[in-house]
Assembly symmetry: C2
Homo-oligomer: 128 residues x 2
């Protein structure tokens, strides 16, 4: 579980951490029950402040991806079962909204419907 943080990115560090952990869950690199490093050790490894990691963990906790277990720290949850359906629904609504926005931009650039679908399909195949 190696995280790649880009300090010069416009995307906040805590967001990069959060997104990369979600990606690791998607790829199966992280599975339900897996233990995440402590906020202090991960912060040390990444060279960032403890609170930056803590914020990423708090977001993951609020989203239902991980659960906190006292001294055992942050543990990956079984998202399909533990992410509240209301939150999962919110996520899917947001994803749908962003898909529409991306399609709109693509069209404004002169792209066709088929080109967009082809692009989406090729990207989907890198994940599933």
């Amino acid at each position: 579980m190696l995280l790649d943080i880009d300090l010069s990115s416009q995307e906040p560090i805590y967001r990069q951490i959060r997104t990369q952990i979600v990606s690791a869950i998607a790829t199966g690199e992280l599975s339900a029950g897996d233990q995440l490093p402590s906020v202090r050790s991960l912060a040390g490894d990444l060279g960032v402040n403890m609170h930056t990691v803590n914020k990423a963990y708090a977001v993951l906790r609020d989203e239902g991806y991980v659960v906190m277990r006292g001294r055992s720290g942050a543990v990956i949850a079984d998202a399909a079962r533990t992410v509240p359906s209301s939150k999962a629904q919110e996520h899917k609504v947001r994803i749908a909204s962003e898909l529409a926005r991306l399609a709109s931009e693509f069209k404004a650039l002169g792209g066709t419907r088929q080109e967009f679908i082809d692009l989406a399909s090729s990207q989907v195949d890198t994940v599933f």
Copy 2:
């Protein structure tokens, strides 16, 4: 050309303006040669500062969506011809990257490949 600004949104106002104008170009509501309202009048209509609109226009200009013509103000460009191919390429690379991110999140939530493609297809149909 009515813009709907949400002051309580996390998305910056100038970004909302920029995105909605790009969407209007995509839908054909705005076409090459159409004149945008002046930064002052649009700011007045939306109830925001002139510089907020000016920043949105500057972004659209840098992206190649509009051209500035002295007193004629901001005019919609023919994106397919005037957006520099290098910029268009950057846009498409970014769009591909965001598609992969969305697919990854969808999978982390327990969604399947087919469900994601169905969602994407339905959203694409609202644009094209």
